[in-house]
Amino acid sequence: MSATSRQRLGWLVPLIPYLWLLAFFLVPFAIVLRMAFSHADTALPPYAPHFAGFAAIGEFLAALDLDNLRLLADDALYWQSYLYSLRIAGLTTLLALAIGYPLAYAMASAPKSWRGALLVLVILPFWTSFLIRVYAWIGILRPDGLLDAALMGLGLTREPLRLMNTEAAVLIGMVYSYLPFMVLPLFAELEKLDRSLLEAAADLGARPWTAFLTVTLPLSIPGVLAGCALVFIPAVGEFVIPDLLGGPDTIMIGKALWTEFFSNRDWPLASAVAVVLLVLLVLPLVLLQRARLARGGAA
């Protein structure tokens, strides 16, 4: 390729990320969106209507309908699953924050030579398959499993806790799995905090706890928000953990989606579930971002 033709293609370089997003995000999403307004059919692929070229686009659009969305609104199962997912994800986020903040704080306050090792310890679980780690929790939580054996062996409890297949088991599994996503952004935020700010606070008469509340905490808010978003968003759609550790009453929306798609072969309904989930998650984020931009612009 000559230098001039290389220059001529230079404009392509900044386009690459957009092409990537177009090919692997926008187009698949358009397909899912279109499916959400179709209806199930015993065909291949198992939905109708089919797109038969732009000549027949009028008929194609007319054949689309809102039946799936109506079903989602009417059938209590779905909106209860959405609410339950939001609840579990919310609890997971709060618990992960309650455990992750002190953890990240301790890591950031540790001597510099330790921090790398501590960071590796947080990331270490990722070396093992996620599924295997969730299965390991079954071994720990099941009746007469490791946890019961340990507690009863120590004489702390007399009978099995019966944690398996409960909401508590789901929460334990979720918090365990998502904790690193909370710790890492918090650690990054707390580590870059200038220690002299805390000295200045102490110098001006702030007790250690007051200095934390008035300096450390407000300055770590971006890390808190990032960590919460990183935990909450995937937690809402989580399917594996409730399926393996939860009971029959823990129906999260991810599980409902899985069932519609694979067991019922109702692709359009599954797509509708996914689209509504996406809107539920994206809308608050967009609003948050706009609020942040508005605040930054005013300052």
């Binding site: 000295e199 200045a200 606070a201 102490a202 110098d203 001006l204 008469g205 702030a206 008035t214």
Partner: protein, 391 residues
Amino acid sequence: MGQGTFAKRKASPGSVRRAFQPWNDPQARPLVEFRNVTKRFGPVTAVDGLSLSLYPREFFALLGPSGCGKTTLMRMLAGFERPDSGAILLDGVDITAVPPHLRPVNMMFQSYALFPHLSVADNIGYGLRREGLARPEIARRVAEMLALVKLEGLGARRPDQLSGGQRQRVALARSLAKRPKLLLLDEPMAALDRKLREATQFELMDLQSTLGTAFMVVTHDQDEAMTMADRMAVMDHGRLVQIGPPDVIYEAPVSRYVAEFVGDINVLEGRVSAVEGDLVRVESAVAGPLELDEDAPGFALGDTLLVGLRPEKIALSHDEPAQGLNKVRGEIWDIGYLGDVTMIQVMVGGEGGTLLKVALANRTRRIERPFAWDDAVWLSWDVEAGLALAP
């Protein structure tokens, strides 16, 4: 402190500044006392058995190269470091074990350490809120502080919307807002450019004399220390080498270290050949016989002695000066024109001899200078110009 025999000096100018000399008054009660304080960091002794008294209303400067322990000394006073041994007293009360938030001492940090999430007014009011003052009182004091540092109208800004000089003023206002008995300033001018630094030095001096707060400045910049301080201390390896008013430190340094750290100095080695009352005669290998007007009881005939000469105290001429013993022939090796002065390096004692620096004040606007490279010249100085220093 220093080498006993050299500590006593004839020159004791001091009094040219003001009559303020509490350190010479045995009745004066010190505001701060360090009593034999030692602080180690692992194998490094940062502060080594140091004793020091500061007085109310004093402007005190701690001067030394980086790593000499001056910052550690200040941080111990603020409460961020605990001495390994010794005691620190404030107003006669032992504060060695008092945590920083309970000390009536405030500090201006080198990095300013302004809270980036708070407005200028909230930064300045931070310490007042911790005292639990009522809102209107805080607002009043903050406004007063903003006026004091000439930042009226900027209270609502955030630190990142200020210039470096403005940020420095906010840091100063914040550290003064609680009306501390003693203000610690850690390299307060380090982040300012030269012009602003000079202006700020004088403002800081004005502010200090208006408020009557004792100031302790840590700096590695001797000009800054000399301009502002009533007294300054030169530190080296965790010890105070010399302490006194800036002019005494400059004109009567106790050691070669102090003489070389504060200002420029030429050093000639020689041997004492005669002592006649106040006059010491020195035989120098490169400069021949020299005379010093020094009250130096420690010197005996035959002792090796260093003669210190400040560059501005040497006169330069083409012809041999008529009188005096302190005159040396030399050849000009280098001329550096600095605007206000011209620095001339003169080789004395032929090739391989000693280079002496001479500072000539440029008193006229003439561009053509009387001296040029390779000129053979005479250097001469008064008997009172030379300093006897221990080798």
